[in-house]
Symmetry: C2
Subunit: 258 residues, 2 copies
Amino acid sequence: MQTEAELKDFILNGHLYYIPHVSIDCAIFGYHEQQLKLLLIKHKAIDGWCLPGGYIKRTEKLVEAAERNVKVRTGVDNLFLQQFKTFGDPDRIQFNKFDQQQWLELTGIESWEDTWLFDQTISVGFYAITDFSQTELQTDITTEKCAWFDIDALPGLEYDHDEMVREALHTMRVQLYHYPIGINMLPEKFTLSEIHALYETLLGKKLDISNFPKKLMALGLLEKLNEKRSIGAHRSPHLYSFNKEKYGEALKNGVVLN
Amino acid sequence: MQTEAELKDFILNGHLYYIPHVSIDCAIFGYHEQQLKLLLIKHKAIDGWCLPGGYIKRTEKLVEAAERNVKVRTGVDNLFLQQFKTFGDPDRIQFNKFDQQQWLELTGIESWEDTWLFDQTISVGFYAITDFSQTELQTDITTEKCAWFDIDALPGLEYDHDEMVREALHTMRVQLYHYPIGINMLPEKFTLSEIHALYETLLGKKLDISNFPKKLMALGLLEKLNEKRSIGAHRSPHLYSFNKEKYGEALKNGVVLN
């Protein structure tokens, strides 16, 4: 939404284009050089930070709704979004936190409770991991700002979004053992130290470096190149790359990594 | 629902007690002596088999809705239900498959399209594993029958329920590597062969028996008892049991098994 006319129509008639009672929320993790961040937004009508999200068009699949909502609210595009959990609890949203004055005048409606927006909502959580240095953030008419926060220094989030972040992190870390990760977050050719640092940062714990890449190699995901990188007088570590075919298969079928 | 009056009220006024546009569907896997089965129901108003499911009361958490729906439709109680995926696609439900004559007369409504039930629905999938020999099946007023089917001989299911079963099986098999399983499906004291057979049956593949229990032992989940079972002249395998404390912790925090 970019105009007030669109916003007014959304409040008055949104239930005709969107599925009421169901929303999407997205935990977008950003990795770059051993830092892990989370993308948060500040709605104009809510005092505090939230995960980006929104509603599902009646013509959309869930994942399409997630992609569209992340893009319009944050400018971030082409994410590989994965569902992690759906949240439903009568107490999960406190509507009184919504600033009622800001937009009510626009619509001519007397009370927010007369709109389709103020009723119980189930929210489907998606997560993604991207390189935050490659993203260009931008906001829409309902969003005051969006920004990357260090995963260890998050502000307290609105509604049940703290719980969502915990669940998203847990699922992301479990899925690191079952799906390949790294394309788009590592250079085309990388050292074992670089992929090791990626895994350690995402997992939030130390991994045995001598043992770690063996399984990736055994699965055929990682290929040792006949090439080294010179990083100092006596230091020229071997370069590796992903086998894209095996990587694609593993994304589809899953693997077991330990 | 057990009476026609309740059914009529559900069709006419259900949107006041239930959240419209959101349903629950449950894949209940049943294990017993190396057999894996799935619990299916036949609604009176739909020609074909479905997963048990239903709507979420406005006062319920999601998992409570799942437990209640499984119990009323199938009689099966006390399940450890886990979310696996939420399904949303404009084409996922074909309402014309619904037998419109059976209950319309009861309500006095002219067309199903005038009810809250005939609009787009997102469905939250849950799965559970139980010992099917311990269950007592029973039906409610909307259910013609419910029954256990061998996992390798399922009928084609209605709507998107075939996809739901595939996704539930996939998630269950991934989660076998991250959460303990077996209490309620094995005797209090069991042999390594018995727990090995449980894992092989659930995973649908062979596991190396010499290697398999080591990780369970190393994690402290499995304890070797100073006791043997006599099953023949020269065969008396050691008995094992779960360490309930470690098992509970692992259920809560997850583990990595390989």
